[in-house]
Amino acid sequence: QQQVKQSPQSLIVQKGGIPIINCAYENTAFDYFPWYQQFPGKGPALLIAIRPDVSEKKEGRFTISFNKSAKQFSLHIMDSQPGDSATYFCAASMIGGADGLTFGKGTHLIIQP
């Protein structure tokens, strides 16, 4: 049972465009939603995270939009650059639970020059 569904699986965007990656979750007990960025040969690194009490969070060129009623959240990358090419994972967890993160399957993003 996949509790966090991520789409698209892969995405190609021209430099300067705005890639959007979407995630949907099923467990209404989830209350922490991070995004991780992973480069080849490296471990995932936290990019940005949001809690359900806000609908949007921005950090630099990265924005999370959160829709609690629809149980969906998305990552937008403004003014995308070739260096943003990586695999992006959404995840979810319960702040009150110790049992790790539930990850989406990942989106392989390519930013073309």
Binding site: G41, A45, G96, A98, D99, K105
Partner: protein
């Protein structure tokens, strides 16, 4: 700052062999986790620990064991390696529940 250190980086095992994947963190984090990453499947939790002496199963624990004798170390043991355990293994740690998890760079394991 070393963060989370995993060793070895690569390993090839024969079916039936055993090995221990090492994980150490120097951030004094209470919570530690082991995940496996398979192509196109995201990361799945194998085991986790909320502190020294306390461990619990995650989503995919079969074929693995862990121990947590110190705050810093959280080794993962494969007793009888099987081809299905070919994967990339990541260790992570966090200070508290709901805080960011910091990942190591992984161990790439092939079982032949």
């Amino acid at each position: 700052n070393a963060g989370v250190t995993q060793t070895p980086k690569f390993r090839i095992l024969k079916i039936g062999q055993s090995m221990t994947l090492q994980c150490a963190q120097d951030m004094n984090h209470n919570y530690m986790y082991w995940y496996r990453q398979d192509p196109g499947m995201g990361l799945k939790l194998i085991y986790y620990s909320v502190g020294a002496g306390i461990t619990d199963k995650g989503e995919v624990p079969n074929g693995y064991n862990v121990s947590r004798s110190t705050t810093e170390d959280f080794p993962l043991r494969l007793e009888l390696a099987a081809p299905s355990q070919t994967s990339v293994y990541f260790c992570a740690s966090s200070r508290q529940i709901g805080q960011p998890q910091h990942f190591g760079d992984g161990t790439r394991l092939s079982i032949l």
